[in-house]
Assembly symmetry: C2
Homo-oligomer: 189 residues x 2
């Protein structure tokens, strides 16, 4: 199973999605987000507003979809030869991306406009897949390792919680400490 799946490429539905997503991206590069509207996005995408309303419901739901796609990792995590350094390199990059101004904007969009849990679940799924790749490498090397849910709970969750609620408290040094605490718990006592 490939951990990184592309968007579907076939059919009219996929073409509409691509052009509407691209229009949102383009408009976000040109204007403040408060200026965005469904009619404006539709016009730029070359579709009718009712196509957008029918498919997404409204602007907030559309922004959530676009953000979930933008947060999709574009490569598997770097293979540094050991689990501790794999997790550290990945987590520091994750923190940097997610705590940046656009990263925070995307996370907020994903959460604010999610209907049900499709888009938030997709974001959690990205982290789970990236972590699983690193854990499989560790298993192949015979390294002791936590399971993916432990990594989510004790490394990804603290990063995301601080990014959303308390950004001053999360630094690359703190990420490094979280990785070491997590892996120290794996050693037989």
């Amino acid at each position: 199973m490939s951990p990184i799946q592309g968007t579907r490429t076939g059919g009219r539905s996929a073409r509409v999605q691509r052009s509407v997503h691209a229009a949102v991206q383009e408009l976000l590069g040109q204007r403040s987000r408060s200026e965005l509207s469904v009619p404006l996005v539709a016009q730029h995408a070359g579709v009718t507003p009712s196509t957008v309303y029918r498919r997404w419901g409204g602007l907030q739901e559309l922004l959530s979809d676009v953000a979930a796609e933008r947060l999709r990792p574009d490569a598997p995590p770097e293979d540094t030869g050991a689990l501790a350094s794999d997790l550290n390199a990945w987590a520091v990059q994750y923190l940097e991306e997610m705590s940046s101004s656009p990263g925070r904007e995307y996370i907020r969009d994903v959460i604010a406009g999610d209907t049900g849990t499709a888009n938030t679940g997709q974001c959690c799924g990205y982290a789970y897949e990236q972590v699983s790749v690193m854990l499989q490498r560790a298993a192949d090397r015979g390294e002791p390792a936590p399971d993916a849910d432990q990594v989510l709970d004790h490394l990804v969750a603290p990063m995301m919680y601080r990014i959303l609620f308390d950004p001053a408290q999360i630094t690359p040094e703190r990420v490094d400490a979280l990785v070491h605490e997590l892996l120290d718990d794996q050693h037989p006592s």
Copy 2:
């Protein structure tokens, strides 16, 4: 220091805030949130729409403020006589409240409409204060205890991450396991 601070009670500014917050609460009880608007809220609160725009900026920012106030704990955590059971009782209740449909709505509102980090920081501050009360009791009893940031990172953060991104994965049993993992790490090895 009291961990629970009330809203300021004096002055015109506080009166406006109370009546506008109350109007939002009342309207949310009667209508779907998509029907809310600044003019409607202002009318119910007996203020002009421009008062609301001037003070809050817009509806999303107002909803964020109201949500941050609604998430304020109304009592210190129960004193059960031991840190493990204090944390467990508090965390299970926190999970129940935050993962409920209104709880999730409030968290989303806090995040979506926060200008800067005032309201999200306030929510993190509530958790920090409640946790600190339990840790101070543990210290008074001579129990070994993690510090408040460790409790935030390894108990509150996993709950909030799952509530926002992966609600099926967090249960009272999982909370119990998180509490025990956290406290087991405190015992001298």
